[in-house]
Point group: C2
Chain length 364, copies 2
């Protein structure tokens, strides 16, 4: 057990934003929610998954929808408490702890705000080890755990409970409710026993986010570029440096979808990078060839500040480094690739791990 | 108290289908559900609203969505029990009785099936006295009663509970869930106390439906046309006789929307009728002039059989009589007209009662 203070939250938000792989929302909005909560209610206790009793109930708290909407439709702080508490009430059990369902600027922070306000511990685990756009894209789903009952709440005061036949129907119905609620909603989902969490969660992800965030912050404090340290820490690869020359983006079906195009700088001059996203970055192509693909993490960092850039914040002229990180091994199983690999998202290609492609490029 | 047997159910389905005003679904599908339920579970007790204790809980049971979908997606009989029971369970109270929320081929029958299967009485009352396309279009809404908590279920086994800030949000969110569930869903909605039901319900509507159905049936048995008797019973007007020459129809946003065009027969030869509908018939124009409009009831009957025809069953060549009936006085209040009058549905005209327009035509 340790206490998360402001510095820890700053670092977690920064690092989780990188693991958000272009999605997961604006870390500033998420961080302000979390910092405001610990200022009012005191610091949050973080525990390991192994500290949770086998029978105890853990409920992840999260935001669902197109994250860029949050900047205009700021949560009032009560809707995620409502969604979270509604699920505990519906299950009729005491809630032992909360946790993130994914890494990302917003969804790493929502459970911290919930934990602070309700005096609950935060478990150092999630169900993705990155961010993904759909509800069934979690390790719990791969292991047969139901997303439902699931609760939803919006900032206006509307609440919904779903009890559905499988996780794909949870995604379908919850997505349509999210769109109707204004393209974002707060959710309580994948209620877990301590035992399920220990077996199927991705452990240590909050600490890992914090390490990444601290690496970026300390490098910036020293006036250095953190890319080398980041690749060492994550086992990832720097694949490109360039300037944003086009972003084509639309909010459709409750998702932020589109493509961004970059022209190379420095040693990449003359090359061209394309990144396609659905909330998260899904595919990176360099000069027309795949360079990284889902479920590996495709992360864009601001070239000057090394701050991760979400797909909804990309703008013409922005200079970026592309960092690609290997995903958690759970996603590289047959079922994992079927759930979140390139074919699921409509790309006609087999998954190739980023290390393999980097090796082909002479980078590894 | 009286028992509803097969004959009563036949007559109620027929009469309610007329009051459905073109909507409310196929009375055959509804009737089969109700008859199958009383065959298995025995006849249904019908009680008056005045028989319900003031504090008792009454839950209307209904189908939501585009009714024509039901013919292809036949309810398996469990989804309306699930939606109904979920609301009682959510409220944590014993349910005293059920009732229809509207008249119509399906929604007059769903509560009979629920009453039979659960051994509950059916209250002889509803919240419309006809059918309307949206959830907030009930007398309970006019009197400040909340549609929510509201429950929804589909034939696949998905269940949803809504607890929302007002009835317009109930309509919005439930509509998007209905569309996702496949354009139809079963619902439990407008949980009422006996006192609320006595004050704000439309009483005797099941009996009234039965009288209308019996009038049509007996006339057919005698080989007579029931139109004169129907206008006497309902205070309505026969406004047109004609042949269907065009139907333009689309399922959009979970509604069956469109327009039907008829050319006159007999004394109406040379005239042209247009009827626009959104599940229910909303507007009738004869030779370009309004002849009847929502909230009055615009009912099309088969010219040969006098069976009411729903908007989704209209086909080229079908010969019809147009019967227009005055709506319940609740809908002619200022708030009633605002909620379901022509302007609500996008028509740029003030509501004129059907009697007034009939008088102008020299019919009254």
């Amino acid at each position: 057990m340790r206490l998360l203070d402001q510095q820890a939250i700053d670092d977690i938000a920064l690092g989780a934003s990188l693991l958000g792989s272009g999605g997961g929302g604006d870390p500033l909005v998420g961080k302000l929610m979390a910092l405001s909560a610990i200022k009012t209610y005191g610091p949050v206790r973080m525990i390991d998954a192994s500290d949770v009793p086998d029978e105890a109930l853990v409920i992840p708290a999260a935001m669902m929808g197109a994250p860029m909407v949050l900047s205009e439709k700021i949560p009032n702080g009560q809707e995620f408490i409502r969604a979270f508490q509604a699920l505990g009430k519906y299950l009729g059990k005491e809630v032992y702890a909360t946790m993130p369902i994914e890494a990302g600027g917003v969804n790493s922070m929502v459970p911290i705000a919930v934990a602070a306000q309700l005096g609950l511990p935060l478990v150092d685990a999630d169900g993705m080890g990155r961010a993904f756009p759909e509800l069934q894209m979690v390790t719990f789903h791969l292991n047969g755990i139901s997303a439902s009952p699931m609760t939803m709440a919006d900032e206006k005061g509307n609440n919904v409970v779903l009890e559905v036949i499988n996780n794909v129907w949870a995604e379908r119905i919850a997505r349509s409710v999210t769109v109707t609620m204004g393209a974002s909603a707060m959710i309580g989902i994948y209620a877990l026993t301590g035992e399920q969490l220990k077996q199927h969660g991705i452990h240590g992800i909050v600490t890992y986010s914090e390490q990444i965030g601290r690496t970026i912050r300390e490098a910036r404090e020293e006036g250095e570029n953190p890319l080398v340290k980041l690749t060492e820490l994550t086992g990832g690869f720097r694949l490109f440096r360039g300037k944003t020359i086009d972003v084509d983006r639309v909010i459709r079906g409750g998702f932020n979808r589109g493509i961004a195009i970059f022209e190379g700088l420095d040693e990449f001059r003359g090359s061209r990078l394309e990144v396609e996203f659905q909330n998260e970055n899904l595919i990176a192509r360099i000069d027309g060839e795949y360079a990284a693909m889902t479920p590996d993490l495709i992360c864009l960092l601001d070239m000057e500040t090394s701050v991760p850039i979400t797909a909804d914040a990309l703008k013409y002229g922005r200079r970026i480094d592309l960092l690609a990180l290997p995903c958690h091994p759970s996603w590289r199983t047959e079922e994992g690739i079927r759930s979140v690999g390139p074919r699921y998202f409509g790309y006609d290609c087999d998954y190739v791990p980023v290390e393999t492609m980097a090796e082909r490029r002479g980078l590894a």
